[in-house]
Symmetry: C2
Subunit: 255 residues, 2 copies
């Protein structure tokens, strides 16, 4: 398989691509790529460039041999999560990106002990996960000051779920009842370590978030997030036999 | 909720419990527990001790007020995984312990780039996850020199699954067909970063491991492990309404 690399959209010209320091180091120093080597490059917005290295110094430059726009996944799975310990968010951004999450919604909530994170670091983590999992759409992170604002900005999702506790039906039971079709969108909300307040749960449920349980185990917030996303993506894959097109394998064009 | 702590079985006498340095520091220095404070202690073998701190120096000592033996989960979910980068195994031991995995089987395989790990560290991680998730059975780690040896030592599992790739039926479809009853055991096998060799896949399939897919996404080994365990535990919880008893809430006895 040909390695996939990332560059910002502004680094792509008509027929050439340049890279930032981080990516250049990865390509040249770590993977020891050389002149005439083929690489795949994505701009994280669905464009995939089959390219060839034409210059290594002073800055790496590749020439585009073929450009293809890959479609977005047929079902958009997104994750909303309360602020938790910043290094535990690392884990969420890495794993949820691998698992195909479209966008992230981070919110400050009543019981959050944290209210910020290292977004430069999260970007880097998502880029790495994007490349590793051969996806072509880089997720965006949206931040909200309260659960109420998060709710107001996510009304466009037609399937909304909030993981609360074992008194509610299981996520799988809920998914089985929920009609998910092509071009649908699913939003899973997970509280911070302290969970949601009664008031926040009320607000979520009034706004069509279905309360679910993720099983009998007492999970950390970041484990709950990945468990929920794992189950949602496998359910969609299984039930609807929909294949997220931006995750399908990539074959190098014959020249 | 009363905090749960861990001590090795040999630190429990008829009516008193002592702790190792790590746990003592956690109880006294981090959580600032004091004489007469109530704590819950488990030996990781199903025993739960409702205890009261009676001495802080020179070593912490608690007296047992009540001892209860908690049953094992009704369905034993275990995870077999190839050696991967040691710090990525950290993640597996933490998350899979939270998610209720009974025991771990680590094996060296043809395509593994790694063949060892930091087992002292993994023990510590599992202890922390055990306490955090309020479980009372500490998983054991078994190590095998080959996939063949792993197969030979796990013949007692009556449901065996191996995650291979998207050409196979999805894990959820497989679980729906697989009859899981009380006292059953489920073993999920995940390859190392390089996956299984053709020969290893043949050996696994010949020995009743059902090949499954975890979805269309290209997952790292440790993500695949957690995705698989997440789905298995939620499926069992959902379909059979079996409640793992060692994860149920704990109420302090009235004195």
């Amino acid at each position: 398989m040909i390695e996939l690399f990332y560059t910002k959209p502004e680094n792509v010209s008509d027929n050439e691509i340049s890279f930032d320091d981080f990516e250049e180091k990865h390509i040249l120093q770590i993977l020891k790529k050389d002149i005439n080597d083929k690489i795949l490059v994505t701009d994280g917005r669905g464009n995939v460039y089959q390219s060839i290295i034409i210059r290594k110094k002073p800055r790496l430059l590749v020439t585009i041999k073929k450009n293809e726009k890959r479609p977005k996944p047929k079902i958009n799975i997104c994750l909303g999560v309360g602020f938790i310990r910043p290094n535990r968010l690392d884990f969420i951004f890495e794993k949820a990106t691998e698992l195909g999450v479209g966008n992230f919604y981070l919110f400050r909530s009543q019981f959050s002990n944290y209210s910020s994170g290292n977004f430069t670091r999260y970007q880097k983590i998502m880029r790495q996960a994007l490349k590793q999992s051969q996806r072509f759409y880089l997720p965006e992170i949206n931040v909200f000051d309260s659960v109420q604002l998060f709710i107001e900005q996510t009304t466009h999702f037609n399937n909304k779920i909030v993981a609360i506790g074992s008194e509610h039906p299981s996520l799988l039971k809920n998914l089985n009842k929920m009609p998910i079709k092509n071009n649908d969108s699913v939003l899973l909300a997970i509280g911070s370590e302290g969970g949601f307040s009664e008031k926040e749960i009320g607000q979520l449920c009034e706004n069509n978030f279905s309360p679910v349980s993720l099983g009998k185990n007492r999970l950390r917030a970041e484990t709950a997030a990945i468990t929920g996303i794992s189950v949602i993506q496998l359910h969609i894959y299984t039930e609807l036999q929909l294949i997220c097109p931006d995750n399908s394998g990539f074959h190098w064009v014959q020249q």
